[in-house]
Symmetry: C2
Subunit: 379 residues, 2 copies
Amino acid sequence: MSEGLGANAGLIGQAESRAALLTPALVLDLDALEANIAAMAAWADGHGLRLRPHGKSHKSPEIARRQAAAGAVGICCASLREAQVMAAARLPGILITTPLAPAKAPLVAALGREGADIACVVDHPDLAEAYLAAAEGAGTTLKLFVDLDPGVGRTGVLTAEAAIDLAGRIAAHPYGEYAGLQGYMGNLQHVDDLAERAEKLIQPTAGLRAVVAALGKANLPPAIVTGGGTGTHRLDAGHGTLGELQAGSYLFMDVQYLSVEQSADGGQPYRPALFVQASVVNVNHPRYAVTDAGLKSFATDGPAPLLAAGAPAGASYRYMGDEHGAVVFADPGDALELGAKVECVVPHCDPNVNLFDHYHVVQGDRLVDIWPVAARGNP
Amino acid sequence: MSEGLGANAGLIGQAESRAALLTPALVLDLDALEANIAAMAAWADGHGLRLRPHGKSHKSPEIARRQAAAGAVGICCASLREAQVMAAARLPGILITTPLAPAKAPLVAALGREGADIACVVDHPDLAEAYLAAAEGAGTTLKLFVDLDPGVGRTGVLTAEAAIDLAGRIAAHPYGEYAGLQGYMGNLQHVDDLAERAEKLIQPTAGLRAVVAALGKANLPPAIVTGGGTGTHRLDAGHGTLGELQAGSYLFMDVQYLSVEQSADGGQPYRPALFVQASVVNVNHPRYAVTDAGLKSFATDGPAPLLAAGAPAGASYRYMGDEHGAVVFADPGDALELGAKVECVVPHCDPNVNLFDHYHVVQGDRLVDIWPVAARGNP
């Protein structure tokens, strides 16, 4: 146990017990987490792939350190704030995977000047120039990847010509280091059916491969091609286009990812590790019990939370406003007592983690640690 | 300007300017906020109603103090955490408007013992007994309201008999103070059409009045009947059933409330005061620009964010994942520059505020303060 628990005694109930947590609480099953970290690390290693897992899923240096200890080459970040927190914790191989507003470039360069091992992505000449000027101003070299849009429609350049232009600018600049190419197919991670996902991956993968070839022809071959996620990583490995994987959600396996088929035989190499614990606060209705976890405790952009513990068989979870949820019974004879605890698998892990300040880390029924969600929030 | 700004210099960009904020930022228009506070205070005063505004909307002692200075009798809270923060800031008249898990009762009583002016609601004998036992254990009297469900189906007792039973238990206990009755019609606040809302309010108001009468007949007349919200407060005043109003969202006027008709002539007494500022981070697409504010910066349970500043006329906002949004142009000739700022009215203020750690308080184009969202998060 780290010192975290003693320092955070005010955050827990009367005892170091999973059953005594003040609710709503974000509960992290340490054994499941460690198993997921080990399973992905072994898989990447066995396929000769670098693993730079995405920290946007957990926002926690404690977890990033465990991933690094299992062989990860670094940690991806989705925001400047995440990168600042990971840099302060001296995590290696930080990669900010989204193009930032150019005004933030000096703050990134400042991290580099202070010794952080940091890389960014660029998808526009003005952003590249902003990063390079900031790096020069700070007197530090900055690693930059070219961000390619493989059909998501969000960030990235759309053509090989634009990629070559950016790679050339970076390589030619005294304070730039051309680090490689990013192509993240975020829109395909949650295609549930394996065969359909495989089919949809073919064209953007061919597009990515063509840009890699064009960069090579222009004497700018990318040293690393980075991308992929929990949904596509096994298929990506089959294509051999990516040298580095950015998967993140495998850590927690939210409701969304539990329905994403990972293998033809239905096998699932990762298991749920992240739950919201709620208390029953109203038992005055015959067909459902009301809990204290609603829109403020669950990410609402995905499916409903999935009841995992404490509820009668067949019950389902329904939102009842900012502060309340309902455990809806399948059998009219079912009931829950006032103050009873239920736990739900979170619907969508990244924004769900963002709602909480702490992980309550458990092993079985014991609370073993409390970890801050140190990089949550905006910006 | 308070000392907040200097202490939080790391949270802002290069200058004390609205244009220089790091994004995504939660921007609070101080003049609009003050006007909304004054308008509601004057209205309540003019109608002889106590105003105990709901702090779940803002989670900020800074704002609660301004409401108290304008005449509010106290501050409502939706959670133990909100109450703890308001108590630490010495706000008067704290009322936790939702029944808590009984295990939290000792923590509420501890606030009372430490001198907080705190009240709770109960809707079950076991919760009443938990509060009363905790109050006795702490040697402090606890004010308790009976919570009546006026048809929402969430919390509250369902019958006059249950209300009388609870009121009697509280009144008979040496450490209990029977403070009154709560009846909150949360399901009617967002009925947009004024006539329809008025119609729907009639039956639950009659039900609330009948319970008040039954309590009176049982020699347990409620000293205060509390409830109401931004959507129904003017209609509630017409009925005369409530003596105390709990409105909260009038402060900010989110997208949801902007469509709630307040008067037959279309007049709107409150105006938008709360915005999310985002930066354009990708301009590679012809019909839209991509920003850095997505699911992590907006409450997603309501309508889309409403573009209020910085975007071409007719543009709309669309989510593009956890970290990204899109400004979709109405005219194919429209464009935004990389790094340009846009601001959106927030869709649903309470959970939107909960996503941010700070308000960036502005007057016109100047950043004048930074206030922590001190009571955000769980539990």
